[in-house]
Amino acid sequence: MLLSMNWISDFVDLSGLDKVALIKNFTLSTAEVEDIIVKGEDTYGVIAAKIVSVENHPNSKKLHLLKVDTGSGVIDVVCGAPNVREGMHVALATEGGSVSGNKIGAATIAGYASHGMCCSEAELGISDDNSGIIDLDETIPLGTDLKTVYDIDDIIFEVDNKSLTNRPDLWGHYGIAREFSTITGRALKAPRVLDTEAFSTLPEVALSVKATDLVWRYTAIKVENITRKVSPVNMRIRLYYCGSRAINLLADLTNYVMLELGQPMHAFDLARVDKIEVQTFDKPFTFTTLDGIERKMDDTMLMITSGDEPVAIAGVMGGDSSKIEDTTTSLLLESATFDGVSVRKTTTKLGLRTDASMRYEKMLDPELCRFATERLLSLLLECDGGVRVISAFTDCYVKRYPKIELEFDKAYVDRYTGIDIPTETITTTLNGLGFGVDVKGESFKVTVPSFRATKDVTIKADVIEEISRIYGYDNFDVRTSVSPIYPVREQTQKSYEDRMKDVLVASYRMHEVHSYIWSDTAKDKELNIKTPEGVRIINAQTPDHQYIRVSMIPTLLSFAKSNRAYAQEFGIFEIGHTVDGLLENGLCNERKKLGAVLFSRVSCEEALFKKALSTVEELFSDVLHKSPEYRASLGRFGFEHPMNTYEILLDGKAVGFIAPAHPEVCSAVDKKCAVVFFEIDTGLVSLIEKERTVYQAPSKFPEIDIDLTFRVTLAEVNFPALTKLAGECAGELLRSVAVQDIYETDDGCSLTLRFTFASDERTLSKGELEPITREITERFDTLGVKFNA
């Protein structure tokens, strides 16, 4: 919102103060100022002058040669404006002056000397009208510096609308002036109004509110005999500086009052409306707004009607059929408070946000309606003395906000602020902001003014804000709290995830990536992946992004594809959230998962699979000191290789899976590559008990390694079962079993296992182990693992 310091100065005397500094202070006390624009600084030396004679330029169709009376002499001016005429009073920029930064000097234009420039409003920067030069008021004495009659000089500042969301009272200059008045400690002056009580004997406006749930207050008054069409220049300058375009006197006045008091108003051409009703319709219909656009309306939208004919969308925009035209001489003036939520819903549906609707959304004070009407009438009479009010101020006050009184004592303020703000300062501040304050000793009873009581100030803490922001946060004495210490709570899952990232990055040189929480169906399709259809976003930006991911792997695969030129071999991972269907209570089964994809164009799939396995082992060894087991699976999603998908088990519980990509998927990632991935549910992992380190004093006696080779079908070897079996045979003498070698030929596979034996009491001899190894080979035999002597 753009605000004018001239306008604010109507209500609070800021003379002698640094206005720019004041505006900056406003940021610290009230709301963020985004920009400060000094108007008129680069326009000077412009005076009232009169065209004495007009001659056509001999060499140009457009240009004229003027003699202009400046009040202290007659000068030559070459002028290109289409509306020049003899006797016209003009705004003349004189030699040495400046117009919006353009310096005026003596010049020769198309061969003729020119000693000044006749200006348009646009050239002076006071409107966007560049159709011709200003046809100046003839009563202004020649030679008068235009700045003494026109408010060209002003300081405009822009406040971020968002920072005013909770302050309906700040959507007009008067409310802003109240802030400046409190900040500076200078008195607030009320605007001039016309008391409508004087018209109470006149007939009322025919008016009824049917949709009482959507209206707080609706008021109207009728006025006739309007003759003036164009607003006073200074009013138009203010409107223009504040971002509103001058249209005609009546439209300008409603805008002016809205920008001044924050109350939107609407003027209907009285000749074109009759009995006013405020209602909704039970069927959809179309309605043409005053901008000429036909809009589709529905049964929730509040309308103003004349009889049953819609004439305005309540709080949003008037209709084309009843708008003010140049022929309008009488009007019906609406000043109303509509339900903010209803207005916002309507604007959202229509995609039509107006200055009026923005204000209604903030929950306006219904008490403003009459004040605004009386202000407008006062301004109208100042501009157009013949105007007559022809109805009573007709008031349909449907609902009122309750009066809010808050009680607290100084100790509460001290505790909340942490500093000592004197009672007097509290009282002055609150009074300045319009609050009623009743102080007894250190107890306060505060009455919230109606313009702050619609939703903004409802509890004691709200009053603290008023007191402390005006006191100034920069003036706060800053100190630490006195709090007991207590230990930081342990977060197992998070610390595991952090460790896992470290292992993957530092030990396995993988790259961490981030992707979106939704699947990308289009990218899945490129990879021959059928997107798992889980929980759906109902307002996704594109249908391709509507499903929340069930697995981390598909997006990682698409990253593998997009990075395939990055390196011959790389690994990527992400720890992120997925949703695996719904829980019994209907909420999402949100699972945090580590997904990792290994890509290679140089290693074969099996080598890559082994690398992935060792990565998984390292992860669990690091966080849990445990080794996982594996269980063959067909794969759940279809992007896994059906032959080599394995569930990863910890303590017998499945916590994830590991698999090479399905050949169809793999070849879609890259024609010649191997891809292996694994996914681990970190939430499940965090529930597994961590293996504690149990220290064993090192044996004084040497270990003995015995390598045994077996003929096997490799895929069928159940290594954990073999280890367990060997343990049963050897008891505590067996310290470990590990794969020493795998040798594959066309006619089978040899698997060499290394059995490490040791005793804490003696040095073992090969001879004494011989019966044990024999038993191991015999028992292995029963599992199809044949000893290769």
Partner: protein
């Protein structure tokens, strides 16, 4: 006897000088000091000597001289050999670089860890929270009434089961208050979602970090102190903070917190638009309704909350210009973040 010794001495010195290696030296040692060496035979001849005492003394002196000379020569040879070995060693060149792939962290992980570490040292628990939340968690418990614009369809992603993707990390406030009660110091970094179109400065998916401190008599004055201390710790330098009024339904009073510009230190420069201040994080005293909804006794406890834009922080820290780089999965961009 003395003549014999002198003769042996001069022959020994000649031989020692001509010894070229360990083997020569060993031969000399055996010749003179061995069991059948010259010294032994001198000792054997002692019986026939006239002045046994003097002769014995002379032999001993000679023996010591021989031993000393051999040891000295041995050391010289060892040194020469070592030097020869060192001189002949291969010379390396450390300036040659081979391509070596290192792993990398996502920049958000690095920025988050740095901030977490700063808060951990100040006794804050670090909480993780879900990304899918309920309307109650994201809005209602935070004093955001039913008709607040933040609930509009255009801002929030709604799911078909009625839940939504959290629009702010504050969505975890209620659950964390209920989990731990007061007093409480916690931060909770997390990913947030806003349904808006993306460009270099806007993302529908971004990271924030929420923090809360609840205790007896926590005041605005404390809030300013803690924010200044914590942010100085996060940015590893003394920074100035200032508060401005700001409106957020879940705090009262609410503030926008500015920090002195990190580039110019507050003098005013292009990056702070000449103001000397950078808008960093919204914060405020937790609204009594929010505390109450979290089961906290508002007569006894007050608290403050703040939200840091982690994504923005990472962009500032690393000079990342396009916010979309974070979720691009592009290793050319992401692999640059090697470690903390």
């Amino acid at each position: 006897m003395k003549d014999r010794i002198d003769l042996l001495k001069s022959s020994f010195e000649e031989k020692l000088l001509s010894a070229g290696g360990k083997d020569d030296l060993e031969a000399i040692r055996i010749e003179y000091l061995g069991k059948k060496g010259h010294v032994a035979s001198l000792m054997a001849g002692l019986r026939d000597a006239a002045d046994k005492k003097t002769a014995g003394m002379l032999i001993n002196i000679f023996k010591n001289e021989v031993e000393g000379a051999i040891t000295k020569r041995q050391e010289e040879l060892r040194q020469a050999e070592l030097e020869a070995k060192i001189r002949s060693a291969k010379k390396y060149n450390p300036s040659l670089r081979f391509e070596r792939e290192l792993g990398s962290y996502h920049p958000i992980t690095l920025a988050t860890r740095e901030v977490e570490e700063a808060f951990r040292t100040m006794g804050f628990t670090i909480e993780d929270y879900s990304e899918v939340v309920t309307d109650y968690e994201c809005f209602e418990s935070l004093n955001i009434p039913k008709h607040h614009p933040a609930r509009d369809m255009q801002d929030t992603y709604y799911l078909d089961n009625g839940q939504l993707l959290k629009t702010q990390t504050s969505a975890a406030q209620n659950a964390i208050m209920k989990k731990y009660g007061a007093p409480l110091r916690a931060i909770f970094p997390g990913r947030c979602f806003r349904n808006e179109s993306t460009d270099a400065c806007h993302e529908n998916t971004f990271f924030q970090m929420e923090g809360m401190m609840i205790d007896e008599d926590i005041s605005i004055s404390n809030l300013i102190y803690f924010m200044k201390t914590m942010l100085s710790e996060v940015f590893k330098r003394d920074i100035k903070v200032r508060l401005r009024p700001g409106f957020f339904p879940f705090v009262e009073p609410g503030f926008e917190l500015d920090i002195s510009c990190l580039i110019c230190g507050g003098e005013g420069c292009p990056s702070c638009k000449g103001e000397g201040w950078l808008e960093l994080c919204p914060c405020g005293m937790i609204h009594p309704n929010v505390l109450r909804e979290g089961g906290i006794d508002t007569d006894k406890y007050t608290g403050f909350a703040f939200g840091l834009g982690l994504t923005r922080l990472a962009m500032m820290k690393y000079g990342i210009k396009d916010i979309r780089d974070f979720n691009s999965g592009d290793l050319k961009a992401l692999s640059q973040f090697k470690s903390i």
